[in-house]
């Protein structure tokens, strides 16, 4: 009985290791390995280097908001604008019917907004924790307080309106007017604070647009508020003028975004988020603007109605587009590692870098 010799563990050969490195280098640079019959999928492989970051793993975390939040942006924008329109219709326009519907839209929007915001929380039962502190340096805190106050006052205003329909009681009417003043005053920040909310974050595509996002979101909200009220049967000149104004700004904003070629704005132009944002932009700006102007010329009620539906769809898509763009922006590892706006920092890091060896 002969004893079988113990199997030796193969010692890594310098030659084969060098060959392996060569194969990997080929795969990384060319995406395929010549002569070995190997076609690795996914090549060129990510590396850890100053130019490719840490294996291209995103630094930032994606926004974890779900479908409720963009819908909240839409509803809140419309509700806040409706409160202002209602107050103006009451005090300036002397239009009780428009006042009534605007008050109802604002109140319904306030309630739906609250529901959506609570539903999006990881712990909805703790919604009231938002109201245990007020932090002016947190747009979310300012927004939560604005929402709470706005939905209370807009609700009270609408309640007074409905109560007045049945009992014409002057104290209720006076309280309704006072409440309406608060509701409209709070509607002003409420209709566009969401632009500050997402703009003052670490997400590049959002914070690079901080100077226009609040106006953009506000005008989008105004556009949809006007559209909702017009679809409820109001066809007065004031609403049409506001609709023309809002869609003109939205058209300008769309052009402005398209003209800027910054890398950070790519999610607004490419991929799924780009398509949603662009479609939303066309439906919010040029489409309702031209439809409204055409309706004005030929006096068509249907064209104006179409403009309203376009504005509502556009406003909704715009919010979803920006949310998707934020997610895409967070997935882009390049943006937070940019040094372009800090040349002295770049020089510093270049100085500290050792020259890379040329040979394997």
């Amino acid at each position: 009985m002969s004893t079988e010799p113990l199997r030796q563990e193969p010692v890594p050969q310098r030659v084969s290791e060098a060959r392996l490195l060569e194969l990997r280098r080929q795969a990384e640079t060319r995406g395929r390995v010549e002569g070995a019959g190997v076609h690795p999928p996914g090549a060129p492989f990510p590396k850890a280097s100053p130019d490719s970051g840490y294996y291209g793993i995103p630094l930032l975390k994606q926004p974890q908001w779900k479908w409720e939040v963009p819908l909240y942006f839409f509803v809140g924008g419309a509700a806040g604008s409706a409160a202002v329109i209602g107050a103006m219709a009451n005090w300036v326009g002397r239009d009780p019917e428009l006042r009534r519907n605007a008050r109802l839209v604002a109140a319904a929007g306030g309630m739906i907004s609250t529901g959506l915001l609570v539903a999006d929380l990881g712990r909805p039962s703790r919604f009231l924790n938002m109201l245990r502190v007020f932090k002016k340096r947190s747009a979310m805190s300012v927004g939560a307080w604005t929402l709470a106050a706005f939905s209370s006052f807009s609700g009270a205003t609408a309640f007074a309106e409905l109560l007045n329909e049945h009992f014409d009681f002057s104290p209720v009417r006076v309280l309704g007017h006072i409440s309406e003043a608060f509701s409209a005053g709070l509607g002003l920040p409420f209709h566009n604070y969401t632009g500050v909310l997402i703009g003052a974050t670490a997400i590049p595509v959002w914070n690079r647009n901080i100077a226009t996002l609040p106006i953009h979101f506000g005008m989008s909200g105004l556009n949809s508020a006007v559209a909702i009220l017009e679809l409820m049967g109001h066809n007065n000149t004031a609403l049409n003028l506001l609709g023309i104004g809002a869609s003109t700004f939205e058209a300008y904003e769309g052009l402005h975004l398209e003209q800027r070629g910054e890398a950070a704005l790519e999610p607004l132009k490419h991929g799924v988020s780009g398509w949603i944002t662009r479609l939303g932009g066309v439906l919010s700006g040029p489409a309702p603007l031209s439809l409204r102007l055409a309706a004005q010329v030929i006096g068509s009620r249907n064209l104006r109605r179409a403009a309203c539906w376009a504005a509502i769809a556009g406003s909704l898509l715009t919010r979803y587009g920006w949310m998707q763009a934020g997610k895409a922006s967070a997935r882009d590892w390049r943006l937070p590692l940019e040094t372009a706006d800090a040349p002295e920092l770049q020089a510093e890091s270049e100085r500290l870098q050792t020259p890379e060896p040329k040979t394997v």
Partner: protein
């Protein structure tokens, strides 16, 4: 190195401002810090997934990873002895929440759940957090994350419970090479500079400290001694606390609100007064 081990003789008496110094030149990639952190804090596992493109299968810090060892695989480096000229070089660096001086998550938190502790760290009170996830988009380092199954946001606690009773954080305690140092912040900043000097004198010229004191973050309570460019380690060269955007944002919001107010005023002034905008329908409304 023993001078860097903190001596908290009286439990809780400290309230010294503390920090981590994570030295990548000493890290061997053993992941003991990750394990110790999970063990002490009862953090759930992340799933056993292969990244498929590097030896790092964890990827990044997150809701269920409060310490994370980065595996930076580099070119061979001749001149460092042994087979260094022929095989890949490695830099390991244990990543963690930076506990910024100006912390984006803390500023953003609308519930006041995120607070600064007496030790200078940033701590999420789990009994207050309501999972609004605004901190997630406010962290310039992508650290804090909402645990979807739990509903609340989580990150490194800086072992607040251990520091309270005079112990050092679990990761620092478990680190077998003293790559993770824990101690008083000014002492550690000094130790970091001395270590860089020492490494430079030994020919490691690319050693540097990552501690963004010149940015709006104003420095951190977890700084890193790294080799080469911070971007290789996914450390942003120019991290900014998002509150710097607030001024421009609220200015734009005020402008937008003024436009809405003025616009609607003009629109209603321009349209005929007193006219009912809507045809009353037969089911009618009382005026």
């Amino acid at each position: 190195m023993s001078a860097n081990i903190p001596d908290f003789s009286l439990p809780g008496s400290g309230a010294r401002t503390t920090a981590f110094l994570t030295d990548s030149t000493l890290c061997i990639g053993c992941k003991a810090c990750e394990v110790a952190c999970k063990e002490w804090n009862g953090v759930a596992e992340d799933g056993l997934n292969w990244s498929g493109f590097s030896y790092d299968n964890t990827g990044a810090v997150g809701a269920s990873t409060w310490r994370h060892v980065k595996f930076v695989e580099g070119e061979p480096q001749p001149g460092f002895g042994g087979a260094a000229g022929e095989v890949s070089s490695w830099n390991f660096s244990s990543d963690v929440c930076k506990h910024c001086e100006q912390a984006g998550c803390l500023e953003a938190c609308p519930t006041g759940s995120i607070v600064r502790t007496e030790f200078g760290g940033v701590y999420v009170q789990p009994d207050v957090c309501n999972g609004c996830s605004y901190c997630v988009v406010s962290c310039p380092f992508g650290v804090i994350q909402k645990n979807d199954s739990d509903g609340r946001a989580f990150k490194c606690t800086f072992c607040y419970d251990r520091q309270k009773v005079g112990l050092q954080p679990a990761c620092a305690k478990a680190c077998p090479t003293e790559s993770i140092k824990f101690g008083e912040i000014s002492e550690l900043r000094l130790a970091a500079q001395e270590r860089v000097k020492e490494l430079h004198s030994r020919g490691v010229h690319d050693a540097q400290v990552y501690d963004p004191v010149d940015t709006s973050v104003e420095g951190t309570h977890a700084f890193f001694l790294i080799r080469g460019d911070p971007r290789t380690y996914n450390l942003p060269p120019q991290p900014e606390v998002p509150t710097i955007y607030l001024k421009a944002g609220w200015r734009a919001a005020a402008l937008g609100s003024a436009a809405l107010l003025a616009g609607s005023l003009v629109a209603f002034l321009a349209s005929p007064k007193g006219a009912r905008s809507r045809q009353f329908r037969s089911r009618g409304h009382r005026q």
